[in-house]
């Protein structure tokens, strides 16, 4: 019993003294492991998180799903509520109602009723001079403004002989159909024409699979509507995201490889450098197994400590990159930690036991003579 304790005490004493006496080299080796651990953690975290972050950027392209009432009909008022419940907090649904109105100069213009607060979130690319805030205010498309041409004065529009006066809150410019229309609030629109929304545009978040699932759910929930993916948006997003992911994956792989190389180079040098110590240990009667155990112990401690510190540093780096590029934090993924620890241990053990095998073939006397 006491023999075993003194043996293990000796073992730990050797580990401790080795670290203290050659602290410069031990620190260099540990630093290499930390760099590798940090690089691995940062890359794994970023790789997973960048997709979520980029998807959020892609949602700025607007709706990826459109629900249309069967031609010539409107949605009952409860539909929007149903879609919103179906989406939960994974998306945004915005109603649009359309009618053709006539100006007092007898020109046709499309009037759209919508929810301005939601449109602002859905279509952030709209260039709007001022959003309407009160009832009776309208957002006039840039082209429509030139035709209606009231220099910001109130104007009259009529739908089915019912005339209504609107004041222009601001103009909207998009370069697309919106420029030719006049936007008013849904409540004004309903009061005026008695019509409900006929189109609901939906920005659903998540992966392509999530979006397809949302489409299927909506189709089931709204049997009287046409629910389709906006292919322009969904396909381009899938294409871009796929290519960015591959680029990131390859770049990360390169970085992790070079970091592992850094560990290999440092630790191999470290072991070769101490061949004299091992020769003395062997000359004093240590078995090859004991020396291997000693070195493996060192490598394991170094790998473990390096992985822990590297993990913390890597999280810091990933978070910094997240802030620098996306202005938001990168979520800490502790699920990455075991992978980092295991790979750090593998690399350190490999980097130390491999040169040790080479040294084992050599007689201690030769090493001690400096040959």
């Amino acid at each position: 019993m006491s023999r075993t304790t003194s043996k293990s005490a000796m073992y730990f004493r050797m580990l401790r003294r080795a670290a203290i006496l050659r602290k410069g080299q031990a620190a260099a080796a540990l630093a290499a492991v930390i760099v590798a651990g940090a690089a691995g953690t940062a890359m794994l975290n970023l790789y997973v998180d960048v997709q979520t972050k980029l998807r959020r950027e892609f949602r700025k392209f607007g709706a990826n799903i459109v629900a249309q009432a069967k031609s010539g009909e409107n949605f009952p008022p409860a539909t929007l509520q149903r879609i919103s419940t179906e989406l939960g907090d994974h998306g945004l649904a915005v109603p649009f109602s359309y009618a053709v109105a006539r100006t007092d100069k007898d020109q046709s213009v499309v009037v759209v009723g919508t929810d301005f607060n939601s449109v602002r979130q859905l279509d952030p690319w709209w260039s709007v001079s001022a959003w309407p805030k009160r009832a009776g205010e309208a957002l006039v498309g840039a082209r429509a403004a030139r035709i209606i041409n009231h220099n910001g004065q109130p104007f009259t529009l009529s739908v089915q002989e019912r005339a209504l006066r609107f004041s222009e809150a601001g103009t909207v410019q998009t370069g697309a159909g919106e420029d030719s229309r006049v936007y008013i609030s849904q409540s004004d629109f309903h009061e005026w024409t008695g019509m409900n929304p006929s189109v609901i545009e939906i920005a659903a978040s998540g992966s392509p699979a999530d979006v397809s699932a949302t489409i299927e759910n909506l189709k089931l929930a709204l049997p009287d509507a046409d629910v389709t993916a906006v292919r322009q948006v969904t396909e381009a997003e899938a294409n871009l995201l796929g290519k960015t992911r591959s680029t990131l994956l390859w770049s990360s792989a390169l970085i992790v490889c070079i970091a592992a190389l850094c560990v290999l180079a440092t630790l191999m040098g470290w072991v070769f450098d101490r061949r004299r110590d091992f020769a003395i240990m062997k000359a004093l009667g240590a078995s090859d197994r004991l020396i291997a155990l000693f070195v493996a112990g060192e490598a394991a401690i170094m790998g473990f400590a390096g992985a822990l510190v590297g993990f913390a540093a890597g999280i810091g780096i990933a978070d910094w990159i997240g802030h620098a590029n996306f202005q938001s934090s990168v979520a800490v993924r502790f699920s990455v930690l075991p992978a980092i620890i295991i790979s750090c241990l593998t690399v350190t053990l490999l980097a130390t036991l491999l040169p040790l095998r080479l040294l084992r073939a050599i007689q201690p006397a030769m090493i001690l003579r400096g040959e």
Binding site: E57, V109, W125, L248, S251, A265, W270, G370
Partner: protein, 416 residues
């Protein structure tokens, strides 16, 4: 003597030198590949962003309002048109090489089987030539998300495509015959776009002009161009700029300046950016470029560390050698010079080989990911060599200094 020392050091310590050389080579490979990716990614992503389709639209200057709800055009026949003959001039503007595709559009209201239907005329893959240049353009490249079940009609045929919702409603499929204006037309395919075209009939432009009784005109031109994200300078009015600034504005591929140039070549036109595409693609592009740039910095830093570490280890092993030279009377400076020369030679050799490997790696990655090569400019070579020399030097400097400072007696007895 100096040259001999360095030469013999390389000849006799091949294994040790090889290890360091491999480290430098790998470091340079990764750095070159990453710098190549970082410099090429903007260009590649810009082209991939074209999968969002057109980002510019050209309309007649004196336009009346579009009165269109969904797929139905409610307006009486428009009188403002653009000339079809001016379309090829788009390939004559300053940024012609940035124009990936363009597609004209002409809408006609007609009836099919008693139903009012909008007929949309466009190019599918039209052969055009401007000057000596031949090119093919149309909806297939301008709107890459358009999918056809069946075959695309030829631009000079009288075949048509039917949108999928309309086809389902009227019971058409590829091969059906449709009567428009008393003439039979073959449906060559069913078109799916996820937008208004699903309820329309899409036909070659020439056929649409014939049906509408107009010749040589279009309503709109959609242009898909590779652009630079707009900044404050891009939003300036070109007419208010000084001549030098105006040239700089004109010669930058901003959406605004390309729109301006389109307006110049197409008479009585007005070109606008489609903000949904144009505004957001700049945003996405800068995010992706940003993340790759930051990762490149991380790669440079890590490979620098790896090379330094390998160099430091190699140096440290040679302290007996240093002790011997010092015992024979070598001074601090000549000793350091030997090691510095060795590092520089290793760095240049490894850097050169690494550059070649890195360029190949970047090219293959570009081909695998984007289907087109990423070309690493030879201009990068001195930069990579410079970095390699600096990094190996930094890695060895500390070790050299320590080695040179050893007491030769201790070093030779192996006690240092």
């Amino acid at each position: 003597m100096f040259v001999r020392l360095v030469y013999e050091s390389f000849r006799r310590q091949t294994r040790r030198k090889l290890l360091v050389a491999i480290a430098v080579t790998l470091g340079a490979t990764v750095s070159t590949a990453m710098i190549g990716i970082a410099t090429g990614i903007g260009d590649k992503i810009s082209h991939e962003l074209r999968s969002y389709g057109a980002n510019l639209v050209v309309t007649p200057d004196e336009d009346n309002l579009d009165v269109q709800i969904g797929s139905v055009d409610l307006k009486p026949a428009s009188t403002a048109y653009l000339e079809e003959s001016s379309l090829t001039k788009i390939k004559g503007i300053f940024w012609r090489n940035n124009i990936v595709a363009f597609a004209p559009e002409l809408q006609v209201n007609t009836t099919v089987g008693g139903e009012p239907v909008t007929l949309l005329g466009t190019y599918f893959a039209k052969q055009l030539h401007f000057g000596k240049e031949d090119f093919t353009t149309g909806a297939r490249t301008a709107f890459p998300w358009w999918k056809v079940i069946g075959v695309w009609p030829a631009d000079d045929s009288s075949d048509i495509l039917v949108g999928e919702r309309l086809a389902a409603k009227l019971g058409f499929n590829a091969g059906s015959q449709v009567t428009i204006n008393g003439k039979q037309h073959r449906v060559s395919g069913v078109l799916s776009t996820g937008a208004a075209e699903d309820d329309q009939i899409v036909a070659p432009l020439a056929l649409t002009q014939e049906i509408s009784g107009t010749t040589g005109v279009v309503r709109k031109i959609f242009v898909s161009a590779v652009t630079k994200p707009e900044d404050a300078f891009a939003r300036r009015n070109p007419d208010s700029l000084s001549p030098a600034d105006r040239d700089r504005w004109y010669c930058s591929p901003y959406p605004q300046s390309i729109a301006y140039q389109l307006q110049e070549v197409i008479p009585h036109s007005r070109a606008d950016q489609i903000r949904q595409v144009a505004q957001n693609e700049g945003n996405v592009l800068s995010r992706i470029k940003g993340i790759i740039l930051l990762i490149t910095l991380a790669a440079l830093f890590t490979s620098g560390l790896a090379v330094s570490a390998a160099m430091a280890t190699a140096m440290f092993e040679r302290r007996t050698e240093v002790g011997l030279m010092k015992a024979l009377g070598a001074g601090y400076f000549p000793l350091s010079m030997i090691f510095v020369t060795e590092s520089v030679l290793l760095a240049c050799g490894g850097g050169l080989v690494g550059f070649v490997f890195g360029a190949l790696l970047a090219r293959e990655l570009g081909r695998a990911i984007f289907g087109s090569q990423i070309i690493v400019e030879p201009v990068l070579l001195p930069v990579i060599l410079g970095i390699a020399v600096a990094v190996t030097f930094a890695g060895s400097a500390f070790a050299i200094r320590r080695a040179v400072k050893y007491d030769p007696v201790l070093a030779l007895r192996g006690e240092a």
